[in-house]
Amino acid sequence: MHPRSKFFEANATQALRQPSLQAALKQLEQGFVAGRAACYEALPEFEALRDRAEEVLNHTLENLDAYLLEYEARVIETGGQVHWASTADEARRIVVDICNQAGAGNVIRGKSMIGEEVGINDALEKAGFEVTETDLGEYILQLAEEPPSHIVAPAIHKTKDEISDLFHSRHRELGYHERLTERSALVAEARQVLREKFQQADVGITGANFLIAETGSNVIVTNEGNGDLSSTLPRVQIVTAAIDKVVPTLEDASLLLRLLGRSATGQEITAYTTFTTGPRRQTDADGPAEYHVVILDNHRSEMLAGELRPMLRCIRCGACMNHCPVYGRVGGHAYGWIYPGPMGSVLTPVMLGLDEAGHLPNACSLNGRCATVCPVKIPLPQLLRTLRGRQHRRRLNSRTARMGLSIWAWIALRPRLYQSITRLAMSIMALLGRRQGRFRRMPLAGGWTRVRDLPAPQGSTFQAQWRQRRQQ
């Protein structure tokens, strides 16, 4: 996908004017957010699980090279092949090569964010393969030629009407002529269409929620069962996964599974959780003859080195975006790439560069709701601040912003001066705003006052009031 993160402001403005998107985003609150809250209430061990998950993942990251090698050895022992890719480009080439060697015509995909990250569909289509997404949400987006707008519910922004039109126009060539309006009928038609794709496919490409060093397995978590059919029916299975997906043991995966579904959709467990290990054995009745894993780095080892390391704990549950007031207003497409919301505001600048995605770390009020719900305790606001710092040091933000911040920092480091300036400013503003109690316009705060009034301060500063209260 061609990134559009540079245009965050314009994208966001546009998103705010889309009533159907706004309705879908509101529903998020009643769906995923309420679901997670109910799970949280029902499980007294939730916080303990979060602490342990953080510990286990930190341990894994500290020994990442060793665990990856253990994992690789187990995959090879069970008859699979491991391919390593430093960059998205390498990953694309490896996948295309495997499909070429397999003499494949049709390729099916189970939902995978790594597939989106490296742009596998484009590469395969350019190489002449027919690619079909099998996750219903991803399939809808493939027909609509749109990127996902949520990492768990990719087509969350699409209305039923839009889907009806889409199926009506795109399924006609397959012999379906009726425009369906019932939700169940739409799901049934997609099931039928995709069943045929499953049967014709030579290669199935899936992602991995986890890779297990103990056994060389990959784990796929779905509700639809599409990932399972994708990894069972085709002759060749390709798993695309990043280096940060490895965990040591089956028990470690079980720990994380207790958090994943609850945090993502408010489910204790999804309908299907599948561990796949190598190609079919001689004694197996079905399954693929070839099993390949493509392990991708794509800037993750860079994150491992610095302050952004905690981001590599991410299990892609989507809770941070579900609970983000910014995502909740502008939706996923505004972020301009495949990872939206708080996690995307950390990942996108790392993967595409701060030049492209510099707006994202700033599209945050640092309210901290994301970090409170993150099942693996990633301090997202802190990581966003780290990126803002980098931006400032590399002079990537606007000159005015830089100057303003430098002046503010200079003053803030001098408490006496800071206090007298704020005291003065507050009394002047209180005086000027005394009649209306609010300002319609304010120099240097045009962005704020264009859409709302600024309440006038009461006269004394926060620090002064604090001191007064302490004395009482």
Partner: protein, 222 residues
């Protein structure tokens, strides 16, 4: 293809080296033996407590996930329970059946046409047993094998699972131990199934039967 092979090996070393640099140490500075020992010990973590009896919990969780549950006392009654289900749902008399030992033991009524094979897209009912079931989450654990095609768990519209209650365990960790006890290593596929296939991709509203079975029916024995 030689080109790919070189890129791949090159990338492997590069990635591993970058990781070592990032962690500020060499691989020989790691205590591999300790990591392998942790894998061999595979320590368990926090296991949420619950009050209900395991059977109660299993049934409640399965039903909450829109699966149906029937209970019989002995294996001899399974055939009739299957007949019942087929009749109740107007499903004819044909089923694709996994060849696992448990189902082989059952004396099936002559009215049923059981076919032991890999299923096709058109088959509407499949029947299997499970290695075990997990009370905590209401989950069935199925593994692949000689007579146990994985596609049987996903292709037919209706999936019937026969589960003797002595194969009920408390948690996923216990299920792993069960599997380890079998001693045959990790099967090609381990499927944890906790309900029929579903999707909420159309306007965040649940619909059943997205790709896998629309209906999951569990027959508990004992």
């Amino acid at each position: 293809m030689a080109a790919t092979a070189t890129t791949v090996t090159g990338a492997r070393e590069q990635i591993l080296n970058r990781i070592r640099d990032a962690l500020g140490r060499d691989t020989d500075e790691i205590d591999i033996a300790a990591l392998r020992a942790r894998i061999a010990r595979h320590p368990r973590h926090i296991e949420p407590a619950f009050d209900e009896s395991p059977t109660q919990r299993l049934c409640a969780k399965l039903e909450a996930a829109a699966a149906s549950v029937a209970r019989v006392d002995t294996l001899a009654e399974v055939g009739a329970a299957v007949e019942n289900y087929l009749q109740g749902n107007d499903l004819g008399r044909q089923l694709v059946c996994s060849g696992d030992a448990l189902l082989q033991q059952i004396e099936w009524p002559p009215s049923l046409d059981l076919q032991r094979r890999v299923p096709l897209g058109a088959d509407s009912v499949g029947i299997t047993s499970a290695l075990c079931a997990i009370a905590e989450t209401g989950t069935l654990m199925l593994i692949s094998g000689q007579q146990k095609p994985t596609s049987l768990n996903f292709l037919p519209d209706h999936h019937i699972v026969v589960l003797p209650l002595d194969q009920l365990v408390m948690r996923m960790e216990d299920a792993w131990d069960r599997l380890r006890e079998e001693g045959a290593g990790m099967p090609r596929s381990v499927n944890f199934i906790s309900g029929p296939s579903k999707t909420a991709d159309v306007e965040q509203t649940v619909e059943y039967g997205a790709h896998g079975p629309r209906c999951l029916h569990v027959i508990l024995v004992g």
